[in-house]
């Protein structure tokens, strides 16, 4: 039986890779893996970015699931940001927008979308309560490089 989580994110499952840009001018390759776990109750998210020679730049790990209200909750670790629990905030249909706190009075916004088999992700680090366009950002557009990681019955 397909869970509401997998019904919404089935097209995201698999391995994605593409160029990533940081607002400070760094560039690299980002790879995201979305894997359905526990019969579709959650999605394990694994990330790594690396430079042109393959040396790792950042790493990440997380779990996507739905809260009691059916909104996405994302428990994450990023090596350059730390640990956080992100909650879904309202956005356009098809867009997953998440917001959550980070240690040290910082916060993180992430927006993700899959369209035409491209996974686009942008993130923005914030500090304090001041809004500023100078906040560190990342942007990546990834294409699918691996098969869907949904169990067979979930993919049907």
């Amino acid at each position: 039986m397909t869970t509401p989580l997998i019904k919404r994110f089935h097209d995201w499952l698999g391995v994605w890779r593409g160029p990533i840009e940081w607002s400070d001018g760094r560039r690299g390759i980002m790879e995201f893996t979305f894997e359905s776990i526990f019969n579709g109750q959650a999605i394990e998210v694994r990330t790594v970015s690396f430079d042109s020679e393959g040396a790792p730049l950042t790493r990440g790990w997380g779990y996507l699931s739905l809260d009691r209200n059916g909104r996405v909750i994302d428990n994450i670790y990023f090596s350059d940001a730390g640990f956080s629990v992100l909650h879904e905030v309202a956005d356009d249909p098809g867009m997953l927008s998440l917001h959550g706190p980070l240690p040290g009075n910082r916060n993180l916004d992430v927006a993700m979308m899959v369209e035409d088999d491209v996974l686009a992700i942008s993130s923005r680090l914030g500090e304090g309560y001041a809004a500023s366009d100078a906040r560190p950002r990342t942007f990546t557009r990834m294409r699918r490089i691996g098969r869907s990681l949904a169990p067979r019955e979930e993919a049907e």
Binding site: V15, R17, I37, F38, N39, Q41, A42, E44, R46, V48, P56, R59, G60, W61, G62, Y63, S65, D67, I73, D74, N75, I76, Y77, S79, D80, A81, G82, F83, V85, P103, G104, R143, I145, G146, R147
Partner: protein, 163 residues
């Protein structure tokens, strides 16, 4: 060095055994402990199932890493508790102890103790955050798992077509 960073590398591999839950019969347990994030973190993947039918009953997965502030923490998901984040707490040298509050407000305490090089005992306590543990508190989940095979790198995944 924290207990987690010292103990987990020697616990890599597949462990199996049984566990007792406060409200269910004995369950079979399979736990896989492996390095992740190029060896900068560890993952623990546990599934519990009915020993007679193999039916999946409960599962928990978490990754453990050192945060930018130097603390050892986890990012995890449990079919029973939902998402959770735990932090390593001091304990005896042969114990991995983790503690934290889940998103749903449950205080969670997890310990893995090395009973022998090939046997781990684990216990999980949970209670509403702020409630006392109580004098005669018993673990909500208790189990013993045995090493089944040494860890080795997983086989490459098929179907990938790196650009």
């Amino acid at each position: 060095m924290s207990n987690a960073m010292r103990l987990l590398p020697r616990w890599y591999g597949l462990w199996t055994g049984t566990s007792e839950h406060e409200s269910t019969a004995t369950m079979s347990v399979r736990t896989n402990i492996l390095p992740v994030m190029e060896g900068r973190g560890f993952a623990m993947q546990t599934e519990m199932f009915d020993p007679s039918t193999g039916t999946f009953l409960r599962g928990v997965r978490f990754a453990l890493a050192v945060g930018p502030d130097g603390r050892v923490q986890t990012v995890g998901y449990s079919t029973e508790m939902g998402v959770f984040g735990l932090e390593e707490t001091p304990d005896d040298e042969d114990v991995l102890a983790l503690s934290g509050v889940t998103e749903s407000g449950i205080q969670l305490n997890v310990t893995y103790r090395e009973e022998s090089p090939d046997t781990l005992m684990f216990s999980v306590f949970w209670r509403p955050h702020g409630a006392s543990l109580g004098k005669n508190a018993r673990p909500g989940l208790f189990g013993r798992i045995h090493r089944r095979q040494p860890w080795r790198p997983p086989a490459p995944q098929g179907g990938g077509n790196p650009v």
